[in-house]
Symmetry: C2
């Protein structure tokens, strides 16, 4: 994770000339990538003091919402493969935020559950996310937010 102190804002500020991107601006994928990058950077700043990445928070949140979930369940909900999920669960386990234990219903699976520190970390993360979402939503009306979510969902569903 890009650890950082709280010095400066975004490393590549929007300066004159940045909007001159030519015909590439008509490519939807290009805008999704730029928007994702902007959100990612702001997220990282907002979460610098919590030592958690987007993926880690999402995984933590999913485990909280679905006690005893298996890694494959997290992977499916986050559209990741098993190996990537492993890496993220490993990091969360190393931080002491969740525990693996063999599932009783299916010996192949590991049931994931939050620890108390994990619950506290998630609570703090949710407060930070509120800030982050506020930053993100501040440029839209409520109706536009709903519309944006609906359009994005059509891409990933």
């Amino acid at each position: 994770m890009p650890r950082q102190k709280e010095t400066i804002a975004i490393t590549t500020p929007h300066v004159a000339g940045a909007e001159d991107i030519g015909e590439i601006r008509n490519i939807v994928g290009f805008h999704i990538r730029l928007a994702h990058g902007a959100v990612y950077r702001h997220f990282t700043e907002t979460f610098a003091h919590l030592d958690l990445t987007q993926k880690q928070v999402s995984a933590l949140w999913l485990v909280a919402d679905h006690p005893d979930i298996a890694q494959i369940g997290v992977a499916q909900r986050m559209r990741m493969d098993r190996a990537t999920t492993m890496a993220i669960v490993n990091r969360l386990e190393a931080k002491g935020y969740l525990v693996r234990r063999k599932s009783r219903s299916d010996g192949r699976k590991q049931a994931l559950n939050l620890t108390d520190p994990g619950r506290r970390a998630l609570a703090a993360a949710k407060r930070a996310i509120q800030q982050h979402e506020q930053w993100l939503k501040s440029r839209f009306t409520e109706q536009e937010v709903a519309r944006l979510i609906e359009l994005l969902a059509r891409i990933h569903e």
Copy 2:
């Protein structure tokens, strides 16, 4: 902030505190990340035979649109820092798709330009992007595409 809970309707069964910001699916950032992941994955499949990533294509395209552009120019337009831009330009140079040469107007800068193989690679990439964009746009009307681009631009601009 009057009446806003309606759009974030779905109730969380377990915890209902003042700090509870609802289910993860109501978080805009989560949808942007999932949509970006879906687009990234499809892009990678579409481009498997071309040995080019999203970033590399974008950089190639920008250099084609702006001959003699400096690395810092590419960085600003793609919202990347100088070090990340270096890595991408290095890869494109290693593939023989572009050349660096000292800028005459500013000795600190490197003027970037495509080679002939670079131009051919970009032409092929643009054809693949048409396919990719078709896949992406197929779930929207033209009007929705325009709306989506407009909303996304508000995030990264």
